[in-house]
Symmetry: C2
Subunit: 285 residues, 2 copies
């Protein structure tokens, strides 16, 4: 058994920059995260768009932060072939940036239905085709792609990839000989409800496909479909049980906090948010 608490192990932990609400320049964000003791960061593209990647890379090195994941892909399904090709091109640029940042993986949030469509099967076919094409580029740049299934409540507008089983099926189709550059990110918020979660976590572990574990909590009641995630311990997810399952399946990587919380945590000072993340990771996860 490989499970132990995260007490004194913030070096294993990461802050996804969305957790701070995208409010500060990236330089300041990295400084705060490092100063709070975290060993990793998962930056969003939007937080880096006005900055020089080489300078960011230097700062990361200087403050001792590693990039466990780079967030995230442009949605793949599109109403036109030109739209699909444009999404691919944008994702190829992002994969190059992920390589530049030495990110351990590039997070793939695949997208939902194109405008005006009710055809989930067609969207899923585009996703499969698109990931297959991007995988070549990822291989060339030695970047791992982490498919992140999102909660089914985002199937229409954010991700027609909704379960870990579905993501692993896609991995198997596109990389039938086992893990090379395609795996999954397991996000507690998106997957906690799934009756097949434990079984699929084991399957993911056997195939060495687990590239990330994201934590937050499901609040009761949840007041907004997108921006009302909870801090670990404030909701109903058995986060310790999930981490136990994921680590028992062989995952020894980074534990990342990703909280979208417009009316609560995004209203608080970044230092307070980071301190709370650190406490909850060590005591409640």
């Amino acid at each position: 058994m490989t499970y132990s608490t995260l007490e004194q192990r913030l070096d294993r932990c990461s802050i996804n920059t969305a957790t701070l609400g995208h409010r500060l320049p990236i330089g300041q964000t990295l400084e705060l995260i490092a100063r709070a003791g975290f060993g990793h960061v998962a930056p969003w593209r939007r937080d880096l768009q006005d900055s020089d990647l080489k300078q960011t890379r230097r700062q990361l090195r200087d403050c001792g932060l590693k990039v466990n994941a780079y967030c995230r892909s442009t949605y793949l399904p599109a109403a036109t072939r030109a739209g699909f090709e444009a999404a691919l091109a944008d994702n190829r640029r992002a994969i190059e940036d992920a390589a530049e940042l030495q990110a351990e993986c590039f997070i793939m949030v695949v997208g939902g239905l194109p405008e005006g469509s009710r055809d989930l099967s067609a969207a899923r076919s585009q996703v499969s085709e698109g990931i297959g094409l991007l995988l070549d580029h990822a291989r060339q740049h030695n970047v791992a792609l982490a498919l992140e299934p999102l909660h089914p409540m985002y199937a229409a507008d954010r991700s027609c990839l909704s379960t870990l089983e579905q993501a692993l099926d896609l991995c198997h189709t596109l990389e039938p000989d086992g893990f090379q550059h395609l795996g999954v990110a397991i996000d507690a918020y998106h997957c906690w409800w799934d009756p097949k979660l434990a079984e699929q976590v084991q399957r993911a572990g056997r195939q060495q496909r687990i590239l990330g574990l994201h934590l937050s909590d499901w609040l009761v009641p949840t007041r907004d479909l997108l921006l009302d995630r909870g801090m670990m311990g404030d909701g109903v997810i058995d986060l310790q049980g999930l981490r136990h399952d994921v680590e028992s399946a062989g995952y020894q990587g980074t534990i990342e906090v990703e909280i979208f919380s417009r009316d609560n945590w995004w209203q608080r000072a970044p230092d307070e948010v980071l301190r709370t993340c650190a406490e909850r990771l060590q005591k409640r996860c």
Copy 2:
């Protein structure tokens, strides 16, 4: 192939009383639904609690309405054994009422996590035990129980039964020799996102477990987790495709409309809601 439009087939269609927002006395509700041409109604217990069941049954007969389903069970998982037993007792009374109303089935919305619990497995065990116990009572009263998996966004507070696959697994466990009194209700809103939906609909059909098909639509954006369902045609669900799949799997029963819509349809006159349901069923489903 058994699929055809619902044009001129409102006799096959049902209105779930929640669609009208629980605003009128049941007598008036039944009158409006019958007058609008529907052949069936799915009443909620709360709409009948102040009325005499025998009188309701007479009115149903007089206005030519059948009860395709009676809504719904009291949640099963409870923090204490006494709470669990109380839920069972209440559900037994409801099953007796369903028999009195000659309802084709009793809808089981099984409940989520008990207060203070993070243990989904324990909740699911209670559900399994509870359904098993209620099945005896259902058999005695010749009432079919329809397990209704709810959308995963309700896993915490309404239903730890989240997918059709999970519901059918439970049916198979409790009634291993095939359908007798335990089946499923397939609700488009709850199931549309599921990558295994088509496969599991076929499985349900093979086992003759499909006891109902509920329609509404998923709006983009959805502004409330519970009370922002759309009218058929206003959202992104491929309702024709779903009905086609369900009927191809052998289901020839009632098509029911169940829409919770606090800020839109519940603000409109019941007659307008019923007229719109009738139009959309005939043209868009």
